[in-house]
Symmetry: C3
Subunit: 245 residues, 3 copies
């Protein structure tokens, strides 16, 4: 059983945070809210979304799992205005989700959750460096890096957080001190990441007021931020580039 | 003889209402205004435009017929600002229409009206259901229907006007009661229409405050609305989809 | 030695005025400012840019020459907001230009100036007709001409400045009298120009308050206007179309 109402913009943001990595996902329903964990097909990046019951105007659910075609759901959300309220209603017998907005109802077939691949276990990581950066600054650095390379290194050296990309002839570097950031807990860290993924992540994270990034030396990056006016949290984990090529 | 001045936006809207169905059309001039009737090449939809003399800032014409290349006239109108006044001047001997706007004059060759195919006779129809809907609501329903199918049914059942499209797995349905509409005269009606055509019609009708739709059971749809600040009327007739396939 | 700070919009406009004709250019540095002269690969059009020291917030330079990849510099400038200050810093030993904006530094390799082709000598021309026109009016006429032809004639006849393009069936003509222009010094003139080039030039000149155009009979056109809030000047010379084909 699932029946909920949520502001269109909050739902859009939540869906996009996952659809940037995968086309289909399992939405886990509990009485407290919705949880999604998904890993991209290449096993390089993982997203975790928690949308609390409070993010909804009304929310009723029993434990369950919905297999969602995110491309389709994104396309449905395009029909909504930012200020619309979206009504979600599960038709369990027909295996369909009814999405209603201003008189319009869209009946969407659900996917069989067991046909959607499971996320692998993620090892617990102890990452020494912690950065809190404005989403917009992260996005800007990533866009700049794309101009010169397909990879970007991120790290902390002394009291400086840096992002750097190097091409054959040109180089882009952003350096931020603690007072240009929202917060910085120093710790030696430097890893190289694929801009394919960072671009997608930064596009979503770029809308957030603040993004918390955890880094290590040749370790995965963790980035997390709030969505849905604080009632949801998105976190990404991105594997570093394996040195070689 | 034809010499007239009209606001750019009014002329643009009038031309687009026809060019959405055909590339060339005969403009019938009378002392009272301009009339255009055109049928799309597949004989599925017909448009009828009446632009009264009052829609013009100045208007002088003798009876006549102009063969207009609508693609070209649209492209000329792109050069005009919304607030521009467009001067139209017929050069009968050279068989050209001179379109002037802010110092710029565009001399456009006319087509031989007899080379443009005539509209067929349209049978008089007695359609039982009448709906008056906001243009914007019509457009929204049509856009939603496109997500799932190439066809859309429209009808009235009891006191409900509905638009519905069904795809292989998903379904879109809009229901509007009399008080969500501007007006509704009930009457059993349901017909299936091609979204190819409805999309084009809804794009134009979507700008209108109110659109009057007449429907029957497997009968053509009639949609009409005002343009040019009430001094013009556009009406479309759209054949229902022949049941088969 | 070169170290300067300039508003992003001024720098963008300056670069675009050259990049519309060529992909690479030599920037001549003097203690008074920067000068660029470039000819397009087909030898049809030449641009000359003078950006005075005053256009910069700070400016220090010794005599020198920088080989600039304009496509790349344009792409770097896309990252800047209109209101950003751009810091330019020459690393002479590494042969690189460092472009800084809000914490971000972009290290761009310079080209060997000797590898960029030199501009040919331009003969001194005595052009009899002089027109001062609003940039916007020039751009509008050029856009209209594109609708009907690949070429456009410009000229002065009596006290009328005209621009005209003729296609197989249609014709566009703009006529402006002295009082519709900013200024006009009459003199018989008429030449035919390629719209490929006029379009590019008018795109840049279209932003200028006023554009001074010098014309002759089958002679090149000269168009010049201010940029960077009056602290820079751009001038184009465009060869007329050779009569034949």
């Amino acid at each position: 059983m699932f029946k909920a109402v949520i502001g269109a913009e909050k739902l859009k943001d939540a869906i996009e945070s996952i659809s940037t990595l995968v086309d289909e996902a399992r939405f886990k329903l509990t009485t407290d809210g919705i949880t999604v964990r998904a890993v991209d097909p290449a096993n390089v990046a993982m997203v975790s979304l928690d949308l609390a019951k409070d993010a909804f105007d009304s929310y009723e659910a029993t434990e369950g799992e919905l297999g969602i075609d995110l491309t389709k759901l994104n396309s449905i959300m395009e029909m909504a205005d930012k200020s619309d309220n979206i009504e979600l209603d599960l038709d369990e017998t027909a295996h369909k989700l009814i999405v209603r907005m201003r008189g319009l109802s869209y009946t969407m077939s659900l996917l069989d959750p067991s046909s959607i691949r499971k996320e692998p276990k993620i090892p617990a990581l102890d990452l020494p460096a912690h950065i809190v950066i404005r989403g917009e600054d992260l996005r800007r650095a990533v866009k700049a890096a794309e101009k010169v390379s397909d990879y970007m290194s991120m790290g902390v050296k002394g009291n400086i957080f840096f992002m750097e990309a190097e091409g054959d002839t040109d180089k882009v570097r952003l350096e931020m001190t603690k007072d240009q950031l929202i917060d910085l807990q120093a710790g030696e860290a430097k890893s190289l990441f694929s801009l394919d993924y960072l671009t997608d992540i930064a596009k979503i994270a770029g809308k957030a007021e603040e993004v918390t990034i955890d880094l290590g030396k040749d370790y995965p990056l963790k980035a997390r931020f709030k969505i849905a006016q604080g009632h949801g949290e998105v976190s990404y984990m991105l594997a570093p580039r394996v040195e070689s090529e």
